[in-house]
Symmetry: C2
Subunit: 475 residues, 2 copies
Amino acid sequence: MEVASDGSADSIPPMPAETPNLKAEVSALISNKDFASLKQKLAPWLPADLAPILAELPIEQLAILFRNSSKELAAATFSYLEHGAKYRVLKMLTQPQVAVLLNELSPDDRTAFLNELPLDLAMQMLGLLTPQERQVAQSLLAYPEHSVGRMMTLDYVAVRPEWTVRESLDYIREHGYDRETLNVVFVVDERGHLIDDIRVRRFLLSPLDAPVRGLLDGNYTMLSPTDDRERALELFKKFDRVALPVVDENRKLIGIVTVDDMLDVAEEEATEDIQKLGGTEALDEPYTTIPLARMVKKRASWLVVLFLGEMLTATAMGFFEDEIAKAVVLALFVPLVISSGGNAGSQAATLVIRALALGEFRLRDWWRIMRRELAAGTALGAILGAIGFLRIAAWSFFSNIYGPHWMLVASTVGVALIGIVLWGSLMGSMLPLLLKRLGFDPATSSAPFVATLVDVTGLIIYFTVAYLIMHGTLL
Amino acid sequence: MEVASDGSADSIPPMPAETPNLKAEVSALISNKDFASLKQKLAPWLPADLAPILAELPIEQLAILFRNSSKELAAATFSYLEHGAKYRVLKMLTQPQVAVLLNELSPDDRTAFLNELPLDLAMQMLGLLTPQERQVAQSLLAYPEHSVGRMMTLDYVAVRPEWTVRESLDYIREHGYDRETLNVVFVVDERGHLIDDIRVRRFLLSPLDAPVRGLLDGNYTMLSPTDDRERALELFKKFDRVALPVVDENRKLIGIVTVDDMLDVAEEEATEDIQKLGGTEALDEPYTTIPLARMVKKRASWLVVLFLGEMLTATAMGFFEDEIAKAVVLALFVPLVISSGGNAGSQAATLVIRALALGEFRLRDWWRIMRRELAAGTALGAILGAIGFLRIAAWSFFSNIYGPHWMLVASTVGVALIGIVLWGSLMGSMLPLLLKRLGFDPATSSAPFVATLVDVTGLIIYFTVAYLIMHGTLL
């Protein structure tokens, strides 16, 4: 039983035995090759209702089922499979069977499937489509990646304002054999132009002879197929809808986008941002399955850029070589001091980048952010500076490790930390804003990127502070 | 017009003038204080359908509307407002008006609203509730934060298997005055125990005299109120549902969770992970509005931990003080070499943490991950090592900056980079797995955390390589 296999349901008592369990029954009929009973069992159900249940059968049983069921049922079930499972099932079917299935798939599911195939396989699959379906598939694949057009489905119900509720419900009963999209009904004029969207519930709760026109409220929002999918995500969050209409430049309804796809979009967008923040290009495919060479390439590009930037630390250190030679003790604290600036910077960058992504503020608010970070950076720098000072002082109390001038060393580290942490916080917070202003993705200013910038400038701050404090004594 | 105010719709021609625009009409009636016509205008509509439209009115108009409309409409509209707007509207109402509104709110909206208020205000609000509603509110607030119980709504429709489709539809027509939740109908037995969930579409498309029992498919999944909301998110992604039932330990249906809340959950969970990865505690409130002191506290705790860890670099450097004194040139490359290890580690940690969060692999796959990172780390280390070697060689070709032993310096940096980048990749990938194994959040092994660990060990690798290569010459 499906429910019992879910971890958290362990303590919940099992269902009474007389409750139907379609999946188990279908599975048994397939195992027994009792295809007559199977057809009988499936007949009273809508493909859309069976699909999520049947999609959990093993691959082998699915292939048998697809050969012995209607093409509508096969297509609906296919769309619920994971990408890998889809591919494996197709390989168990004959080419004519694959052709029937592909032509029956809903266009958005087909786009998503083709999109994940290698180009040569995708072309083979396109070749199996009827000219009409091929045109639909090619027009959807022509929209840019991550655009609304790529996620669009054409399985929506549209009615006309002059119809009655009864006529609309009859039309829905006749044309409603789709998956998720019956929750919203779209109202279009005689040329197919969108007039309004209405939740199906309103039809259910209205008198049957009321005209659809009386249900209109003029409140709807819409997408263009070239909109970025992030915009769709924003609108779904703002308007609490289960489906949004997509219109062309003449306001003609050409498809819809459904909320269940949005959870995947939200996840993929977060993954991209997280990977960029970690200092690597977005992988665009799972970590566990991406070919090693491609992953190394995506990681190496940023790593090399950071390395070249970090080389400036060697140059900066070179300028202070004499100071280091005179007071080797200064070198001991280089990693401590500059990494603290990098850490403060990476905190600030992460917070600002996420706040930007969530639309918490706009670029013109930069001064507010800068004031916040001035205050936060000074406070954080003072905390770390005090700890650094006390640590050196404490060690010097018990040993002679930092020499007779330990007080100067402690002061240098303490003062430099205040400056560097403040500097890191400012750089970390302003860099994403600058990148966005220049038209780049703010998430590019990753923790490692900010840390590298702060390392170089941090060295200059550190040795300048050292020079000012130690001039005439150690230096 | 709402649509025109959306950026992307600019080029879409305006709606024909005769299309109704409820929001503008209602706004005009409120401005004219024509409350009789307002009541007449709103009368034929369901509160649930008006709410998202009216929620876009200005605050002042909303307050007037709430005083002049049914409590059902006021409550439904209120639930669509942003938290700040909710609070401002309430302040414009009298205490009895607030009490009526609060008592009418659906329990999950009330929980969410109370949850974001300061404790004293929340207590005042609880005091305005009837004993019965107060009990409901307190029982929901008693569930742990981020649990399914906190997001549960009680506005669902449940029918009985022995009813017919017609009886069910009549029941829905009578009890369906809620927001989003009519898309799924729950079937319960005489004691309220969950038997199945059925999409409302099936009722629409089935013969009116069919028994509900015939619509059951035994395929559903369910949540417990104490489940973490991340689990709900997973199930929604897996099962493509718009609502999932929540049952108590006896399988009794006690509420439902809807998909529109899941977009917010996905966003909040991603924000938490991103902030942790950036090396700060999750802020749990927007960056722009969190009080400065609280933000400094959340950032300082991690920054201090990292600082204390990074102090070990000074200790490690101290061990090699004599070597640095002999070959100051070694100190110049310390930031470059250890930061490269940190960058490689932060890449690996970020990729592994995200893959873990997405469920791409499990802990027992650690060996597969380690093999990948062994290969990737060696390749990345070799790339950076080669660049480092060539850079020092090139500089030495034109100047004497690295002295006569530049070849030894270049070799030390090149070899150390291979070892440190490999080490960073391994640490970065294994640390999240170790943290998870120990029961901590893997996102704790943030980029700065990994970088700090790699800094300390990287120094040891670097100076050990230097000792091996330069022993007898420079050292």
